[in-house]
């Protein structure tokens, strides 16, 4: 799955996702990716977020919407991402998942759920401060 957030110079926030879903899924199964608020969410007055991972679990918690609402309240994007991961951890401690967050000032962050074999999450960032699109990594919580 790819989830993407773009914030333009004027502050316009757009988000998107694309995926082919879970391998060997039962025909008709849809995960979190195409669900606004789960797969991704964008509000130019607050920020954007996008999720990837086990969509069957994650979609129930609307992590992208919740992260944007945390950023609306002033929470730093990295912390907002961590908070939504923590909310899911309570019910599904071993779920596979990660979230990226960005607010309207261009600050960004990411978070992921630490499970055996998945202890770091890599994501890409492009901004005027970076000479070219850069791969960044975050330690899971």
């Amino acid at each position: 799955t790819i989830g993407m957030i773009v914030i333009g110079g004027s502050g316009t926030v757009v988000s998107g996702t694309s995926t082919n879903g879970a391998v060997h899924k039962i025909p008709g199964r849809v995960g979190d990716s195409p669900i606004a608020g789960a797969g991704s969410y964008a509000d130019s007055t607050a920020g954007g977020a996008a999720a990837t991972g086990d969509g069957d679990i994650m979609m129930r918690f609307l992590p992208s919407y919740q992260a944007v609402e945390y950023m609306r309240m002033g929470t730093d994007p990295r912390v907002a991402c961590q908070k939504v991961i923590s909310r899911i951890q309570k019910y599904a401690p071993k779920f596979f998942g990660a979230v990226i967050c960005a607010n309207t000032t261009g600050s960004y962050g990411a978070a992921c759920n630490k499970i055996p074999g998945f202890t770091q999450f890599h994501f890409m960032v492009s901004s005027p401060f970076l000479s070219h699109p850069t791969e960044q990594v975050v330690d899971c919580i």
């Binding site: 993407m4 988000s15 996702t17 391998v23 999720a51 960004y108 994501f123 901004s127």
Partner: protein
């Protein structure tokens, strides 16, 4: 705002990031950047988790899900279980721009896509077929069933609910009950 514009995407999908950033540099809109950026992964089949030829379902078919959201207007376009059409996020954008709906699903979404000018193609590849046949040869493990018979952790289906006998089976047993001298 000096830190804007910004593009951030999941996983180390560098070409997708390059594509989105390039669209912005050439004066394209944020919607264009997300569509083309995610669309790049649909072309590149990033990680086998995006686009055609990946993640075959229980019948061996690849289907796609995608969405796009405009944070200025809060408009959303989305497709789910999209069949036979490769450009999922572009179809999602067409849902946003040419309908008052938010989400179209399944074969109906494919018919909408064809009407919007997208080609109707087979999303299966040699790779997805081999992933599928290998899965069949391993008793269909892993799968997403539970509480069914036969035991879905040990064998393929078709599966059914254990506690309730199906209607047909009831009929057969009732008929044999009367079927006596």
């Amino acid at each position: 705002a000096a830190a804007l514009p910004v593009v951030i995407n999941t996983w180390a999908f560098k070409k997708a990031a390059d594509t989105a950033w390039g669209v912005l540099q050439l004066g394209g809109s944020e919607l264009d950047a997300v569509e083309k950026g995610c669309g790049q992964c649909e072309i590149d089949q990033c990680d086998g988790s995006v686009g055609y030829g990946g993640s075959p379902d229980e019948s061996g078919e690849t289907t796609l899900d995608a969405m796009i959201m405009n944070g200025n207007t809060m408009e959303v376009g989305a497709v789910a279980d999209l069949r036979h059409v490769k450009n999922a996020i572009s179809v999602a954008r067409k849902v946003m721009e040419y309908t008052k709906h938010t989400l179209l699903v399944g074969e109906s979404a494919s018919l909408f896509a064809v009407r919007m000018g997208f080609p109707y193609e087979d999303l299966t590849t040699q790779k997805s077929l081999s992933v599928y046949s290998e899965w069949l040869n391993q008793s269909c493990q892993p799968n997403y069933w539970k509480n069914v018979i036969p035991d879905s952790s040990k064998s393929c289906g078709p599966y059914k609910r254990p506690e309730k006998v199906t209607y047909k089976e009831e009929q057969i047993s009732r008929r044999s009950f009367h079927n006596h001298d």
